[in-house]
């Protein structure tokens, strides 16, 4: 492949990747892929890709430019020609370059969606999912007003508080997606969230059981706001929070669909 075409393709692909991440950042969709705490890293990636793109683009001009330079011409020119001849087949093949376009293709062709109840089938949902046992985090969950606690806060309390009695009967008000778990009795569903530490690669689903008020029919993956007093049931030998729902309202998927332990 001609070096100039190769460089130009590099420029296009790098700019494309940078723009793709930038668009995810602007639309807030970056939250669907990585923990919000690492978003500054993605900014580094955007800037780095753009810098590489510009370098690739300019390198073309530099080659043409150096032609005109008196002092370089004597020894550098034949050398440079030789190099570009040697480099062209070796730096990368067309197939190789286009693998770099795969993230763009996947990102654009498959509609962006955060992990949802569909992914629970592979990842599993639990009430005693691996959670950070850090004391500080846990006391934050305890100290919140009961209506402000997220699914994650409740799960932490149920996992790490030795005595649950002060919490039973408190009113929960949590948002999550509906997931019908096979181990739940009829008329119940899980209100679930994905918790992610670093990026979606380590996501795990957590959920609270919900006893549905009569007549409420919800399909998997609907986002709901569940309110009602909290009780405890045993699932798989683990104490799991159960909301005796007084109301279940359908809501929009939150802009930040994940929780961060």
């Amino acid at each position: 492949m001609d070096t100039r075409i190769y460089r130009f393709l590099q420029f296009l692909i790098l700019t494309g990747l940078a723009l793709f991440i930038l668009v995810q950042y602007i639309t807030g969709h970056l939250n669907w892929y990585i923990n919000q705490r690492y978003i500054s890293l993605s900014i580094i990636a955007i800037l780095g890709f753009l810098a590489m793109a510009v370098t690739a683009l300019l390198s073309r001009q530099k080659q043409i430019h150096s032609h005109d330079h008196e002092d370089h011409e004597e020894h550098d020119d034949p050398e440079e020609e030789q190099h570009s001849a040697a480099r062209t087949p070796q730096v990368s093949s067309i197939a190789g370059i286009f693998i770099l376009v795969i993230p763009l293709i996947i990102g654009l062709a498959i509609p962006a969606r955060p992990l949802s109840a569909n992914a629970v089938n592979n990842k599993g949902i639990s009430s005693n999912a691996p959670l950070s046992a850090g004391g500080g985090n846990q006391s934050a969950s305890v100290n919140k007003a009961s209506a402000d606690r997220t699914v994650l806060d409740w799960i932490k309390i149920f996992n790490y508080q030795p005595d649950l009695s002060p919490y039973l009967g408190q009113t929960a008000n949590v948002v999550g997606f509906v997931y019908h778990d096979a181990q739940l009795p009829a008329g119940h569903f899980m209100v679930g969230r994905f918790a992610i530490v670093c990026c979606v690669a380590d996501a795990f689903a957590i959920g609270m059981a919900v006893e549905t008020p009569a007549g409420v029919q919800l399909s998997d993956n609907t986002w709901v706001d569940v309110q009602g007093p909290v009780q405890s049931i045993d699932l798989d030998g683990h104490k799991t929070p159960l909301i005796l729902a007084s109301s279940v309202t359908t809501v929009q998927q939150p802009s930040q669909p994940y929780l961060f332990p």
Binding site: Y33, A45, A86, P89, A119
Partner: protein, 340 residues
């Protein structure tokens, strides 16, 4: 001629992956539910996980290749040969602690190691650097200390990681030249893109420009493997139910094996894996957490793809097997001899 030979492994990988993809997404689900919806759901999960790994790893790979470019342009080969000791133990000791100066993670360290070899870095030092830099580096130390506090997990992670790196470095010290380890890839000409030793008179900015150009080419070379590796990791995550894996067993031996398997599948960056490990620390044994924290940065799906690109098959086999066995061994010793 030369060209087609070099492309072959990558194409093989790609077809292997396509086949894998088809198996994962189609066959198991034809029997339950509407294939179209299921396919759609799986695809969407796959895409999200793949983009997650890629977006998270991309800045680190960029920083790694940039470091490699800077080493290439600014570091003088003769000086390097002079400074580095020839003695194997000393040289792997130095190599294993160089991560403190080059804070690269498991994606970035691979191109950088290759570059250091080219600059005359001794073999034991390079191998020790390759395995230890993703653990013994300031960013990883800070993130591990943040997750677990300054305590035994942090010290064990560094101690065991560096020990494995040095042992592996020493094992490799019988090798005479790096060319026995490295695949004869086109990278040698990457330097021709811009830099020459003759260009000593270049200004700083010209040198930076050259560093960036080298980093660009290297990003394109290594990035492909990062992408294919992320795709395989994402497909495996979409396919293998993690909950099943975690429920297999929590005994002193099984837990170590499972956490090592998890480290391989998750393919997360070593700079953040401490937070992930923290999540498992309440359910899994100390030895297994340690094995996760030590082996994960050395080998996982995405980095083994990068290793395959850079090193010969036999080298890659040793680079995976030696740390694997030593990490499991360390995990077992910790489980049996250190009370939790």
């Amino acid at each position: 001629m030369l060209r087609t030979e070099k492309q072959k492994p990558l194409i093989q990988f790609f077809f292997f992956f396509l086949l894998f993809f088809i198996l994962v997404f189609f066959i198991p689900k034809f029997f339950t539910g509407n294939p179209a919806t299921i396919l759609n759901d799986r695809l969407s999960t796959f895409a999200t996980v793949f983009l997650g790994i890629f977006i998270e790893a991309a800045p680190f790979l960029f920083l790694g290749t940039l470091a490699s470019g800077i080493v290439e342009v600014f570091l003088d080969r003769d000086a390097m040969v002079k400074i580095m000791p020839k003695q194997a133990l000393l040289s792997s000791l130095i190599g294993s602690s160089l991560g403190l100066i080059f804070p690269v993670c498991d994606c970035g360290v691979i191109p950088l190691t290759r570059r250091l070899f080219r600059k005359g870095f001794p073999i034991p030092a390079g191998i020790a650097f390759l395995l230890s830099a993703p653990i013994l580096n300031p960013i990883v130390i800070i993130s591990t200390a943040t997750a677990f506090g300054i305590g035994r997990v942090l010290f064990l992670r560094i101690g065991v990681g560096v020990a494995i790196a040095i042992i592996t470095g020493l094992i490799f010290s019988t090798v005479k030249t790096p060319w026995e380890l490295l695949r004869p890839t086109p990278w040698i000409t990457v330097e021709d893109v811009a830099s020459h030793e003759a260009h000593d008179q270049d200004t700083f900015w010209e040198k930076m420009r050259q560093s960036f150009l080298i980093s660009t080419d290297e990003f394109f070379e290594i990035g492909r493997y990062l992408i294919i590796g992320s795709m395989i990791a994402a497909a495996m995550q979409t396919f293998i139910p993690q909950s099943a894996l975690l429920n297999i067993g929590k005994g002193p031996l099984l837990s170590v094996v499972i956490m090592v398997a998890l480290a391989i599948i998750l393919s997360i960056c070593s700079t953040v894996d401490a937070f992930v490990a923290l999540g498992f620390s309440s359910v899994f044994s100390l030895g297994s957490i340690l094995a996760f924290l030590v082996f994960g940065p050395m080998v996982d799906i995405k980095s083994s793809l990068l290793l395959i690109r850079v090193f010969r098959k036999k080298t890659v086999m040793y680079l995976i097997l030696i740390p694997l066995l030593l990490s499991i061994l360390a995990g077992l010793i910790i489980n049996f001899y250190i009370p939790s």
